[in-house]
Amino acid sequence: MIDKKTKFRRLVYAAFVLFWMTAPLYLNKYFIDVLNNVALYAVLGLSLNIILGYGGMFHMGHAAFYAIGAYTTAIINIQFGVPVLLIMPLAGMMAGLFALVVARPIIHLRGDYLLIVTIGLVEIVRIALINNVFGITGGANGIFGISSPSIFGYTINGIVHPHHYYYLLTAFLGITIVLFFLLEHSRFGRALRYLCSDEIAAEGSGINTAGYKLAAFVIGAFWAGMTGTLYAAKITFISPESFSFWESVVMFMIVILGGSGSIPGVILGAILIIGLPELFQGLQQYRLFIFGIALVIMMIFRPQGIIPPKPPKYPVNRLDKSEVVL
């Protein structure tokens, strides 16, 4: 039943999970922190993947949603002392709400126009943060002293004990993978893939394309917002520069290079773009240069990314004859 390729792929995934789960046993603090960043960006990539990968919308302003989540967390935590993990859903909701408001007028825009508008969006958000909008964002200096998350009274400090934070991020990444996998293989995921393939045909088949695009934005933003909480609580300090346009570019590259619409692809993208440069410290300054070249080469030779999505399987042969009815 299972062919060689599937077997090999499963073996690789299993090895990877094994490595990931045991990494704290043999990796030092520095590399665990690198993996923490990989996990953060993997989740960000997966949340962008809903918009860009499944929905095919060229959204390059994802850092704006990430920023709103992080700032919501920082402000509420500092002002009212609410524990960060409790703020997480609220951070997601704020980002989702923001997406709902800003995406509504722009989702009908064609691919390249949408790209440029979302770039504009993330810049406006950054400028607003620098200008200390509403007097609560701390301006260009940002916000200091965000508390670390705590579970059952046990504080998880992301700077002093990256090992502890590693488990928190791993859990969040795991949950994200499972939920997004289920989402991908559902009516919702299909609808996004239809409208990505041919919007007019999708609408003509009875799919509310505008509604689904908006929903993709809201879900993607919600998740990026929650990731913003974990980021803010990890480094305990945030500033507008952490959410520049380049952050959006990095997330965009993770999805496009890894394989848009593919969960394993996006995770590999995060490993390559966030993790790999750490192994070649001397080449750090060439990082973006090399990724730029990689983008061009990939578009020419393998536009679907390194691990393109697998076509979903449907249990047709498990259907009973009596179920096949008009």
Partner: protein, 301 residues
């Protein structure tokens, strides 16, 4: 009144620069329907090449400021034009038949490559142009001060734009460019060498961008490898504002955006200056995506 007038001339000078860069976006878009995201970085290459040539050849010392700067401009334009042709050959030509968005991603990759290449060659810190080349004289027009350089920049941009417009409208090659912009296949059937048209477009657009880059370097003095990004976005906004694919549109859009931005900075808020262009961009795309001078076309189903 004086503030208004100062901001107006400033806006027109900056707008002239935006317009020159916008022409590159609009020409490439007109023929290939591609947003050349790397165009802003070609502009930066122009600034840096200008600085290198200026300091290494010391042209202005030998020829005097006016002739020196003109020669420098010609050299920079040619070099940046050649980089533009190479960019098309390497990053866009293999993708002519691919989905349009593949080329957009490739353009983005090229942009990252260019800006980082500049950083690797020249270093990440801000560079400074020699500031004794150009006149700092200020004219007095009806009691209002007008720096000569602003006039020079505005006039140079306008001259270059009119020259381009005349070239496109009056010459045979210009007609070929217009034909290719309307329908590449039909143009090809009429015996027009579309590949050569594209090459020419990728020479002229970047050359104008390079000229703008040199002007910015000479006028503002300080340059940085990331500057092309923000100038590029604003010039793109200008192109959209005027109606992308439309050459007079790029001129109008550029000047208009320059003025809006500099008046906005003076009367609304200096801190929000950069956001003004983005707000204009978003509003125009939502309200009238075809721009001020563009025409609306129905999508064929």
């Amino acid at each position: 009144m004086e503030i208004f007038f100062t901001q107006l001339t400033n806006g027109l000078a900056v707008g002239g620069i935006y317009a020159l860069i916008a022409l590159g976006y609009t020409m490439v878009y007109g023929v290939l329907k591609l947003i050349n995201f790397a165009h802003g970085d070609l502009f930066t290459i122009g600034t840096y090449l200008g600085l290198s040539l200026l300091t290494s050849l010391a042209i202005t010392d030998k020829l005097g400021p006016v002739a020196g700067v003109i020669l420098l401009a010609v050299m920079v334009m040619c070099l940046v034009g050649i980089v533009g042709i190479l960019l098309d050959r390497v990053a866009y030509k293999p993708l002519r038949t691919s989905p349009r968005l593949s080329a957009v991603v490739s353009a983005l990759g090229a942009s990252i490559v260019f800006s980082n290449a500049i950083m690797l060659v020249y270093g990440p810190s801000t560079k400074v142009y020699p500031h004794d080349i150009l006149t700092t004289r200020v004219l007095d027009i009806f009691g209002l001060p007008v720096p000569v350089m602003r006039l020079v920049i505005l006039l140079t941009s306008i001259v270059l734009m009119i020259a381009l417009y005349g070239f496109i409208q009056k010459t045979k090659i210009g007609t070929a460019i217009r034909a290719a912009a309307i329908d590449q296949d039909a143009a090809r059937l009429m015996g027009i060498n579309v590949d050569r048209v594209i090459m020419l477009v990728f020479f002229i657009g970047p050359a104008l961008g390079g000229a703008a880059g040199l002007m910015v370097g000479l006028y503002y003095g300080q340059i940085k490898f990331t500057m092309g990004w923000i100038y590029g976005l604003k010039a793109f906004t200008a192109a959209i504002l005027g109606g992308i694919g439309n050459i007079p549109g790029a001129m109008v859009g550029g000047l208009l955006l320059g003025v809006i931005e500099s008046l906005g900075a003076a009367y609304i808020s200096l801190a929000w200056k950069d956001a003004i262009a983005f707000v204009v961009l978003i509003l125009i795309l939502i309200v009238r995506p075809t721009g001020l001078l563009g025409e609306r076309v129905a999508e064929k189903i």
